[in-house]
Amino acid sequence: MSAPALQRTTQQATRQPGRRPTQRSRTTRRLVKKVPTTILVAILLVLVVYPLVWLLLGSFKTNAEFLNNPTWSLPSQFTFDNYVEAWNTGNIAQYATNSVLSVFPALFFIILFGTAAGFALEVLVWKGRGGVLLAFLIGIMVPTQMILLPLFTVYFQTGLTGTLWPLVITYTAIGLPLTVFMMATYFRAIPREVFEAATLDGASIIRTFFSVGMPMVSNAIFTVALVQFFFIWNDLLIALTFTNSSDLRTIQVGLLNFNGEFGATNYGPLFAAICINVFGTLVLYLILNQRVQKGLTAGSVKG
């Protein structure tokens, strides 16, 4: 510490006892000091949360209410008519089912293949693993647009177009690079001796992977699965490219078309449809928020 600075601190220290404030004035001063912060945080939270509240309230309104009342008025009744209409007439039920049927099989393959590859690349010893890891890393950066057209051609010629398989296959491939990269990182943190001991005890490598490796990173697997779920569930580009009939639309594509076909004049059901989509992921986030935050920021290389 420099001499003048030292002098300043001693000055402060000696000045302090001279004007010791009473307990009460100190508390008030602290409260007054907190006011700007509180206002700032309040504004921030209103900006983030109010649009969602507005959306939720809108989903209960009738069309007449939309047209005649100011947009921030409360709905006059809380009925689920709009939800029923969106779910059945608007086909959201079908779209959600398609999403589930394409996202979860893809997640299963991503996790199984990605964890195995991460294990092989980090724990096992072989020539060329550096090159393979680099090849996977490149995949994180390649824009999806670069692979759409060849895939479309192949799916068309093999007759897969018209099923959900193009989505499952493409999602699996798109999810692998980041998963391999993240799983390799997690396996790096485990001492090699653990796996060496398992093989010394007579377990084969495959057995070691399934009964020692996977359980040890089960936490990480869950995090990665969560991250991939959000990426794939929210995907629009791939779903838009490979779904050629309305029966195959995922919830995102369905919602986009819903707006065009149904929602331009039918506000209530559109708001309800958006709500179904938004609050589904929101509930998942609320339950697992810390893990989602950690996972998504860890996967930020994906951009």
Partner: protein, 294 residues
């Protein structure tokens, strides 16, 4: 020991499936797509060889120029916005809210997990002017400003896209940068305070220099993500009014699937890839240490 952990068959079983899927569905198509750039046509009508015509067309295509310019402008503005707001949030979390920041962090992170299409439709309704006013125009009317047709001109449409994407992602960058800021040792800050640095001075001379690496990676992640923008623009403005807000990704998509020109679409995709690749080189340069360390 090396022999056991180096068993060829097991390695093949473990890394094989991932490598096979990845190679067939990502690596091969990348080169295949490169091949398309010298053809014309599509999967249904067949292809004819046209040499470098697609590249020649692209150089003279004003729509490509506009889309490229929009993409760069968008990436620039959104990156600055995301990182700036994210950094302000992270400073708020670390220095003002301190231990009670967890709940605010969680709430501001909300929009990050929401589906882009849903958020875009919500913003469309919020900024709506006809058939009736959305939230924003009602608010403007309330303070005496007439309604604005937000999606009617290129400038205001760009503004809405920017507002939406910053709203969507500032919480993400807040948490990302927060993780970098809490790593600054308390002793360093304390000694700076003893030296008389406080408030903005502390941020300017101590906090920013010490969080520069994580700040830099945030910027690069952000550029890399924003160059590939597709969902939010498609769902919010669909490139309009006219084609004034259409990025390269959207133009590529329309060229390929609306007009069925795979060759030209691939050429635009290649331009986009090269753009991203240039940024990627920076990513590896700046985060090499993190990558090897894990």
């Amino acid at each position: 020991m090396k022999n056991v952990l180096g068993d060829k068959k097991s390695i093949l079983i473990l890394v094989g499936p991932a490598l096979l899927v990845y190679t067939l569905v990502m690596l091969v198509p990348v080169f295949w797509s490169l091949g398309y750039t010298v053809f014309e046509g599509n999967a249904i009508v067949g292809f004819t060889f046209v040499g470098l015509d697609n590249f020649a067309t692209m150089i003279g295509d004003t729509r490509v120029h506009d889309a490229l310019w929009f993409t760069i402008r968008y990436a620039f503005v959104i990156t600055i916005g995301q990182v700036l707001f994210g950094y302000a949030l992270s400073l708020l979390y670390v220095f003002v809210l301190r231990r009670s920041s967890s709940i605010v962090r969680t709430l501001v992170f909300f929009p990050v997990v929401l589906p882009t299409v849903a958020v875009a439709l919500m913003f469309q309704k919020m900024f709506e002017v006809a058939p009736q006013n959305g939230l924003v125009n009602e608010l403007l009317n309330a303070v005496g400003i007439p309604s604005v047709d937000w999606f009617g001109s290129a400038g205001s449409a760009f503004l809405v896209i920017a507002v939406m994407d910053i709203w969507r992602s500032m919480g993400f960058y807040g948490v990302l940068l927060y993780a970098g800021l809490v790593d600054i040792p308390e002793e360093t800050l304390e000694s700076a305070r003893l030296d008389g640095a406080s408030g903005l001075k502390l941020v300017r001379h101590i906090v920013i220099p010490l969080s520069l690496p994580v700040l830099l990676s945030s910027i690069i992640f952000s550029i890399n993500g924003t160059l590939k923008v597709f969902d939010s623009v498609l769902a919010l403005t669909n490139g309009g009014p006219g084609t004034t807000t259409s990025p390269l990704t959207l133009y590529m998509f329309q060229t390929s699937f609306t007009y069925g020109e795979y060759g030209y679409g691939s050429t635009i995709a290649l331009l986009l890839t090269i753009l991203c690749l240039v940024v990627t080189v920076f990513i590896f340069r700046s985060s090499r240490r993190d990558l090897t360390k894990g």
